[in-house]
């Protein structure tokens, strides 16, 4: 085996530009078809459609005065509970996995499209200020709102790069989802799933089991709470938006298992409260310990539909206004 000649050029076959263009056209059309197929069939992009629809559907809720923004701690109990009623006074744009960056993008969008909003109830959960929320799995979902606002501050590289991420097969978050699915398929390992359809599954565990799960999840979720600057920057930007539109902001922490909340250092939580109140949050409502009955919970850090009704009632009392 010898190194090939590196100086000569060999062109023997006839090959026209027309043939090249036709081959490229076939390649492009195949790529387009593959993208359409991926977009229509992938669970990731079904989530994306659901995500976008949730934000756009607020336009049909003409009475909305209060909007909730946060991650699954808000979204799991509230989305079904509040958003099904087009005449309701409150609407949730919260979505599992959102970081404060995604909250900012969506809040800006709904404040632009829904001028009736006068109150924003924004997550004040400590884990939103941790390292685990520096990168959100919904990053590319929210990119569309940054592109629409022509705002490059929130996108990873630049707007052009964010636009390319909107092409399904160029979307890096989709690829991670795809690879994870493939890994599960290849290793036959079971995915963690909440006990969908059984709101009482959590209550059937023993307290020791619940505590173990809560501590484990709490430790992971609260890694680096208060130690990273980025979430504070996004929070401050949301508050600036609200201030510019005279929208009142209430920080809320939803009920969780005590084993979960204990993993957030008290001093860090106090520091977060101090930041929120000094930057324009009217009130921080901490409901982490407000529910103790396991029947109110779906798991260690999410209330179920039963708990949701109780939490909304508590909020109505605290805010002294109806939300339903």
């Amino acid at each position: 085996m010898s190194a090939p000649d590196i100086t000569s050029v060999r062109m023997t076959r006839s090959f026209s530009w027309l043939r090249l263009f036709s081959q490229c056209l076939v390649a492009v059309l195949s790529f387009v078809a593959a993208n359409v197929y991926t977009y229509e069939t992938s669970g990731f992009f079904q989530r994306e459609q659901q995500y976008a629809q949730q934000v756009s559907t607020i336009a049909a809720h003409t009475n909305v005065r209060v909007v909730f923004a946060g991650d699954s701690h808000f979204g799991v109990p509230l989305n079904d509970y509040l958003n099904g009623n087009p005449a309701g006074l409150a609407y949730s744009i919260a979505y599992g996995g959102d970081s404060l960056r995604e909250c900012f993008a969506k809040v800006r969008r709904v404040l632009e499209t829904t001028p009736t909003i006068d109150t924003l109830i924004l997550t004040a959960d400590p884990h939103m200020f941790g390292r685990g929320r520096l990168e959100s799995s919904n990053r590319s979902f929210a990119d569309r709102y940054f592109i629409q606002a022509w705002d490059r501050s929130g996108v990873q590289h630049n707007l052009w790069s964010a636009m390319l991420q909107q092409v399904p097969l160029f979307n890096e978050d989709f690829l991670q989802y795809f690879r994870k699915d493939l890994g599960v398929l290849l290793t036959h390992s079971a995915q963690h799933a909440r006990a969908a359809g059984d709101p009482l599954a959590w209550s059937r565990l023993t307290e020791a089991e619940r505590m173990k799960l809560a501590v484990e999840t709490g430790q992971g979720d609260h890694d680096g709470v208060g130690a990273v600057e980025q979430p504070f920057v996004w929070y401050a930007r949301i508050l600036d938006l609200a201030r510019a539109r005279h929208v009142r902001v209430i920080g809320v922490r939803f009920p969780v298992h005590p084993g979960y909340s204990a993993q957030a250092p008290a001093a860090k939580v106090a520091g977060i409260d101090s930041f929120l109140l000094s930057h324009g949050v009217a009130q921080v409502i901490d409901l982490r310990d407000a529910l103790t009955d396991p029947k109110d919970f779906e798991d260690e850090d999410h209330v179920n539909e039963i708990g949701a009704a109780r939490v909304v009632t508590m909020l109505e009392q605290k805010l002294q206004r109806p939300l339903r």
Binding site: A3, P4, D5, F15, L164, L175
Partner: protein, 478 residues
């Protein structure tokens, strides 16, 4: 600007479109456009260093003109020394200033003398080792009267800054690339298609092989605690493929891009990991640099010395660190014995008996690869002590420990699996196309074989590319 960025996906078609339209205007317009595009490409990283690129290029252009106009040996020698001095001076300052100052202080400190010397916060301009060496090939060639100096500043500036290979090579020879700026480039559809295929193969190498390997390699080499020899060996082998796929991937994209514009660049890699000896490895690895260094001819004993010096300098070229120097010396030591004893196992490797030939060739490839990996450990480690620690682990009984549990605990098992499959695919494809000049040229029946193969590579690249924080090409730092 990175080849694997969204910016480049916009930049390249735009530059190409204008370039094609400028054909009607003329060659100088195309060269001027190429120059502008190349400066934009370079300035995208840090526009402040455009002045440095411009200054060194201007110096070499004027030196070339000066060499052309004078016949006096003394003046010619002064001019070439000026060119070498400026290029190597700039390179030395930006790349080696702090290294030499720190080494100097450390050497005196060992003798009990404590010196205070200023260290500067010097940013290394990307690609400086490449473009200074490329510019030098011009002035040296004019000095040796191997080519005439050019009077066309636009063509010359475009040659030095030619964006496909500006920041990571191949280090082109002026005699090869510069004349291409002064004749109309012929854009052939076949060459264009071949260029696209070569770029595709480059993206596969970089995004799938190199970046997936990099995730594992970085986790292993940056790990704070002790890891068993089996993991260290895995990390070292994966680094061998990471650096190869990363650098050859860049070269493939560079060559492919240049072909879209009608330029031919020199081949930089030729399946080096199938080499059966180190001299062969160095004929196939970073060809443009090794041939740059391989100019001197001397007697055998002198040749051995020259080889050692050349490889040491080659190591130093890569960076200001003793680990690179050790890497260079090691490679020199691998090559030198062949000067005196020739090729070991050459006869059985050429045997007609397949049962003798194939195992011998496999053994030779394996030994060459193993020695290469040992050298790469020094290349990758931040310190020599760190490299020794890895080698000690690999030589310890912990080499036999199962790596699976640790990889799983580090969250690397799936990525290792992807990297392994990607490497297997890389090697299979390289073996298939080992005697071809261009990547993804798989046979004469192009439509039947090449396009399905390209489609497969495209799909693999799309679905299995690394998706974390963007990783620069390794050779950008050199």
């Amino acid at each position: 600007m990175l080849f694997n960025s969204a910016d480049y996906a916009l930049f390249l078609p735009l530059v190409l479109l204008v370039y094609v339209l400028l054909r009607r205007v003329g060659l100088r317009a195309q060269n001027a456009w190429m120059l502008v595009a190349s400066y934009v490409f370079y300035g995208w990283w840090d526009w402040r260093f455009l002045g440095l690129l411009f200054g060194t290029t201007l110096n070499d252009y004027l030196v070339g003109l000066g060499l052309e106009r004078t016949e006096q040996p003394g003046r010619r020698r002064a001019l070439i020394l000026l060119s070498i001095g400026v290029n190597l001076g700039v390179l030395g300052f930006f790349k080696y200033y702090n290294f030499f100052i720190a080494s100097f202080i450390a050497a005196f400190a060992r003798m009990g003398v404590h010196l205070q010397a200023p260290t500067l916060k010097v940013i290394l301009p990307v690609g400086i080792s490449f473009y200074t060496f490329q510019a030098l090939t011009y002035t040296i060639a004019v000095y040796r009267r191997e080519m005439r100096a050019t009077r066309d500043p636009i063509g010359f500036f475009a040659y030095v800054a030619f964006f496909p290979q500006l920041v990571a090579g191949p280090i082109e020879r002026a005699r090869h690339l510069l004349p291409q700026f002064f004749v109309p480039r012929v854009m052939e559809p076949e060459a264009f298609a071949s260029g696209l295929r070569q770029m595709l193969w480059g993206f596969f190498c970089k995004l799938v092989v190199a970046d997936n390997c990099a995730t594992v390699v970085n986790s292993i080499f940056n790990h704070k605690g002790a890891l068993p020899g089996s993991i260290m060996l895995l990390g070292s082998v994966l680094f061998a493929f990471q650096i190869y796929a990363d650098f050859s991937g860049y070269s493939h994209i560079a060559l492919g891009t240049a072909r879209l514009f009608g330029f031919e660049l020199m081949q930089n890699f030729a399946t080096p990991y199938f080499s059966q000896s180190h001299p062969e490895f160095w004929r196939r690895w970073h060809i443009s640099l090794s041939t740059w260094f391989r100019d001197n001819r001397a007697s055998k004993s002198r040749q051995a010395f020259n080889l050692l010096v050349t490889f040491t300098l080659s190591g130093l070229w890569h960076g200001a660190n003793w680990t690179f120097i050790v890497w260079g010396v090691l490679n020199g030591l691998y090559v030198i014995p062949r000067v005196f004893i020739g090729e070991p196992l050459a006869r059985p490797a050429a045997s007609r008996n397949v049962f003798v030939r194939v195992p011998t060739i496999a053994l030779r490839i394996l030994v060459t690869f193993a020695l290469t990996v040992v050298a790469w450990i020094f290349f990758r480690s931040p310190t020599i002590a760190g490299a020794w620690r890895i080698l000690r682990e690999i030589a310890s009984p912990s080499l036999l420990a199962s790596p699976l549990a640790i990889l799983r605990s580090m969250g690397l098992l799936t990525t290792v699996a992807y990297a392994a499959v990607a490497i297997a695919f890389l090697l299979a494809m390289e073996w298939w196309q080992r005697d071809r000049k261009y990547a993804l040229e798989l046979g004469e029946r192009a439509a039947l074989i090449t396009w399905p193969a390209c489609a497969l590579v495209f799909v693999i690249t799309l679905l299995f590319r690394y998706t974390g924080a963007s990783l620069d090409f390794i050779y950008f730092q050199f």
